[in-house]
C-alpha cells in the first residue's frame, strides 16, 4: 500500500479549476519532487493535501495510509502523519515557538494514545532539532516566526517537521528565497529525516535544492496535471531546457 495515493484529483478555487486530474503514488522511504512553471498548481496541490478549506475538491480521491484524506480536517491530517512546510510561514505574535510546538506534539501524541510531554521533557528534544537546523536557542521563547528572516522561517518549518516526525512530509517551495548557505542547512535537516517509514514530497520551482536532496522520482506538473515523470536526471533536463518541451505532452495529456 502506498503511503500517499492521489487519483484523478480535481480542485478549484472561486470556481476556477486549477488541478485537472492529478495522479500520483508515493511510497514510504521515497523522496519525490514535483516541479512545474508558475501557475501550474504546485502550491494548490500542497494546500489541498494539507486540507486548506479555501480549495474545493470537485473530483478524485486521496488516500493517506489507506485512509480518505479528503474528509479529514487539517488537524486530523496532521495527526494521521501529514506535515506541510509552508511556502510563506505566518507570524503568530503572542505564542512562543516552544509553547506552540509542544502543544502540537502533544495533540498528535494524544491522538496516538501516547502520553503528553511536559515542558521539562520536551525542551531537550526541541533544542536538539534546533541545533540540527542551526537555529539560535533564543528562538525558543520568541513568538512563532515573529521577526524571523525568510531563511529563519523556512528553517523553523524544518525544525517543526523534525519534532513532529510526520509520515508524509510535503515541502512547499521550501527553497524559494533562500541563499545557498540557508539552503544547505535546510537540506541537511531534510536529509536527516529520510527514513524507510517516511516519504517526502518536495514541491519546487528550481532544481537547485535537488542537488542537495536527491529525489527518487521527479514529476512535472503543468496546467494542473502531471505530464511527465522520471528519475533525478529529469530535474537536470528541466533545468537545461525549461518547461516548454514538456508542453506537447501536456497538450495530449489534457484531452
Amino acid at each position: 500500500m502506498s503511503l500517499l495515493e492521489i487519483k484523478n484529483l480535481h480542485a478549484s478555487v472561486n470556481n476556477h479549476e486549477i488541478l485537472k486530474g492529478v495522479d500520483l503514488a508515493v511510497n514510504a522511504g521515497e523522496v519525490h519532487s514535483i516541479m512545474g512553471p508558475n501557475g501550474s498548481g504546485k502550491s494548490t496541490l500542497a494546500q489541498v493535501l494539507a486540507r486548506r478549506e479555501t480549495y474545493q475538491v470537485t473530483e478524485g480521491q486521496v488516500l493517506l495510509n489507506g485512509k480518505d484524506l479528503l474528509v479529514m480536517k487539517p488537524e486530523e491530517a496532521a495527526c494521521e502523519g501529514l506535515f506541510m512546510a509552508f511556502q510563506y510561514p505566518v507570524e503568530i505574535p503572542g505564542i512562543s515557538n516552544a509553547y506552540f510546538l509542544r502543544a502540537a506534539l502533544n495533540a498528535i501524541r494524544k491522538y496516538r494514545g501516547l502520553e503528553e510531554l511536559d515542558a521539562m521533557d520536551f525542551l531537550p528534544l526541541l533544542k536538539e532539532k534546533m541545533r540540527l537546523l542551526e537555529m539560535d536557542e533564543r528562538f525558543l521563547s520568541r513568538p512563532v516566526n515573529e521577526g524571523f528572516s525568510g531563511g529563519e522561517k523556512k528553517r523553523n518549518e524544518i525544525v517543526q517537521m523534525a519534532v513532529l516526525e510526520p509520515k508524509m512530509a510535503i515541502l512547499d517551495e521550501t527553497d524559494s528565497g533562500l541563499d545557498i548557505d540557508a539552503l544547505k542547512i535546510v537540506a541537511k535537516g531534510v536529509e536527516a529525516m529520510r527514513s524507510p517509514e517516511r516519504a517526502i514530497l518536495l514541491v519546487t520551482h528550481y532544481q537547485r535544492l535537488l542537488n542537495y536532496i536527491v529525489p527518487d522520482y521527479v514529476h512535472v506538473l503543468v496546467n494542473g496535471k502531471i505530464v511527465k515523470s522520471g528519475g533525478a536526471e529529469l530535474a537536470l533536463e528541466l533545468e537545461e531546457k525549461g518547461y516548454g518541451w514538456t508542453e506537447p505532452a501536456a497538450v495530449t495529456a489534457s484531452r
Binding site: 506541510m84 505566518v90 503572542g94 505564542i95 495533540a107 513532529l164
Partner: protein, 463 residues
C-alpha cells in the same frame, strides 16, 4: 441634557437626606463638597446620547432604576471569608475588602506594608481629618463636567485611602476588593479612593470589582491618584461582576515632574460597564501608559473612555487597548488626547485593536486628538478584524484542533495587554483568570468576513 426623571430624582433626594446618618464623622469641609456635588448632579442629571462623551453608551437603564443606598452587610463580614478566598491575589502586600462599599476590617489584612505607609479606610481617614486628605480629596475630578463624579462625591461614604511617603518602594501589590452583595432591591455604592504617592515612591495598586450573588447593583467608583515627582505607580482595575451589574469607574491621575503612571484595566464581567481614565501630565517629563483589555460576551456593553491631558512639555503617553467581542456584546473605545499649548515635544501614541468573533458583536472606536502646541508627535490607529485565518490554519496543520487553536490565538491577543503589566503577582494572577473568560465560540464570524478576505482592515492616521 435630559434631567433625571422626576420620580428617580426624588429617589436620590431621599437617599441624600438619609445619607447624613452615615456620614456624621465626616469633617465640615467635605460635607460642603458633597452638598455642592449633589446640587450639581440634580442640575444636570445623567448624560444622554446627545453628550459627545456618551454617544455610544446609553445610561437610561441606570437613570430609570430606583437605586437605593446599598445596605450595610453583616456586622463582621466574617461569613464571606470562604467565598472570597478564590479572589485573593497571591503575594499581595495587603488586602482591603469592602462589602457593599464599606470597609470590612475582619476580611482585610495588612501584613506586608512597609513602615510609614498608610493604607486603610477613607471613612476613617476623613473622620481623623488627615491633612493629606484635605489637600487632595476632590481637588482633581471635575464634578461640573462629569455627572457620575458629582454623584459619587455626593454619596461618598467609604473607600480606600493609600498614602505612600517619599521614597517608599513597595513591589508587592496593594489590593482593594469591592464586593457587591446584590439584594432584593437594586442597590448602589459609590466607592471613593484616594491614592497619594509622594516623590520617588513606587507601588502597585489593584482595584477589583466582584459580585457575590446575582442581582441588579450599581457601582459608581472614583479614584484620585496623585503621583509626586519621579514616582512610579501602576494602577490595575479588574471588573468581574455579575452580568446584571452596572459599573461606572473613573480614575483621575495627577502626575508630577518625571512621574510614571500606568493604568491597566481588564473588563471581563458586568452588564453595562464604563471605565474612564483621565491622566493629567502636569509636570515635565512625565510618562503615562493606559493599557486595557476588554472581553465582551452575551449582551455586555463595555465602554473604555480615556482622556490624556498633556499639560507640560516633554511628556509621553501610550494608550493600548485590545478588545475581544462575542455574542451580542458591544465594545467602545474613546481615546481623547489633549495637548495644551505649552506642551511642546509631546509624544503620544494610541492603538486600539479589536477582534469580533460573531456577526452581532459590535465595536465603536473613536480617536480624538486636540492639539494646541506646535512641536508634537501624535499617532493613532485602530484595527477591527476576526481571528486571523492563516494563523488558525497554521496551528491546525500542526495537529491542534480548531477550538484549541482559536483559544490559543485569543489568549495570545489578550496576552498583549497582560504582557505590559510589570507587577508579576498581578500579571500571573490575571493570566490565569483571563483564560476562563475567553469566549468558547469555535466558529468563525459569518460569510461577510470570508468574502472580505477574512483578515484585518487597518487604517492609521498620523497627525
Amino acid at each position: 441634557m435630559t434631567l433625571v426623571k422626576t420620580d428617580q430624582l426624588q429617589n436620590y433626594l431621599d437617599a441624600f437626606n438619609t445619607f447624613g446618618v452615615r456620614t456624621e464623622r465626616q469633617p465640615a469641609w467635605f460635607r460642603v463638597m458633597r452638598e455642592r456635588a449633589f446640587a450639581r448632579f440634580c442640575e444636570v442629571g445623567f448624560p444622554t446620547a446627545k453628550d459627545e462623551d456618551w454617544r455610544f453608551t446609553n445610561v437610561t437603564s441606570i437613570a430609570q432604576t430606583p437605586f437605593v443606598l446599598a445596605r450595610h452587610a453583616h456586622a463582621s463580614g466574617a461569613a464571606y471569608a470562604d467565598s472570597l478566598k478564590p479572589f485573593r491575589i497571591p503575594g499581595a502586600a495587603c488586602q482591603l475588602v469592602f462589602l457593599n462599599g464599606r470597609f470590612a476590617p475582619v476580611l482585610s489584612d495588612f501584613a506586608g506594608l512597609p513602615k510609614g505607609s498608610q493604607v486603610g479606610s477613607l471613612a476613617q481617614a476623613l473622620a481623623e481629618n488627615h491633612k493629606t486628605v484635605e489637600a487632595h480629596l476632590g481637588r482633581y475630578v471635575n464634578i461640573e463636567r462629569d455627572a457620575f463624579c458629582a454623584l459619587n462625591t455626593a454619596f461618598t461614604e467609604d473607600g480606600a485611602y493609600v498614602y505612600l511617603p517619599r521614597r517608599t518602594v513597595l513591589e508587592a501589590p496593594i489590593c482593594l476588593q469591592f464586593i457587591s452583595l446584590p439584594g432584593d432591591d437594586p442597590e448602589m455604592t459609590h466607592p471613593r479612593n484616594l491614592i497619594v504617592a509622594e516623590d520617588e515612591s513606587e507601588a502597585n495598586v489593584v482595584e477589583d470589582y466582584i459580585s457575590l450573588g446575582s442581582g441588579i447593583c450599581f457601582s459608581n467608583a472614583v479614584t484620585e491618584l496623585v503621583a509626586g515627582e519621579s514616582a512610579i505607580i501602576s494602577h490595575y482595575m479588574i471588573e468581574r461582576e455579575d452580568s446584571q451589574a452596572f459599573n461606572i469607574s473613573t480614575l483621575r491621575t495627577q502626575q508630577g515632574r518625571s512621574a510614571n503612571v500606568s493604568s491597566h484595566s481588564v473588563l471581563l464581567g458586568g452588564g453595562l460597564v464604563r471605565n474612564n481614565v483621565h491622566p493629567v501630565l502636569a509636570g515635565e517629563g512625565g510618562e503615562c501608559l493606559i493599557n486595557g483589555l476588554f472581553i465582551g460576551n452575551g449582551n455586555q456593553h463595555m465602554d473604555n473612555y480615556m482622556l490624556v491631558e498633556h499639560a507640560s512639555p516633554h511628556c509621553s503617553s501610550r494608550q493600548f487597548y485590545n478588545g475581544i467581542l462575542d455574542g451580542h456584546s458591544h465594545g467602545v473605545f474613546q481615546g481623547r488626547i489633549i495637548v495644551h499649548k505649552d506642551a511642546q515635544k509631546t509624544d503620544a501614541k494610541q492603538t486600539n485593536r479589536n477582534l469580533l468573533l460573531s456577526d452581532d458583536a459590535q465595536i465603536d472606536t473613536k480617536p480624538q486628538l486636540e492639539i494646541y502646541a506646535d512641536d508634537v508627535k501624535c499617532t493613532h490607529g485602530a484595527t477591527i478584524g476576526q481571528v486571523e485565518e492563516n494563523a488558525l490554519f497554521y496551528l491546525r496543520s500542526r495537529g491542534i484542533d480548531e477550538g484549541s487553536a482559536r483559544r490559543l490565538l485569543l489568549l495570545a491577543f489578550a496576552s498583549e495587554c497582560l504582557e505590559r503589566m510589570k507587577c508579576g503577582q498581578v500579571r500571573e494572577y490575571l493570566q490565569n483568570i483571563v483564560q476562563g473568560w475567553l469566549p468558547e465560540s469555535s466558529r468563525s464570524a459569518g460569510t461577510k468576513a470570508a468574502s472580505a478576505g477574512g483578515v484585518e482592515r487597518q487604517w492609521e492616521e498620523v497627525g
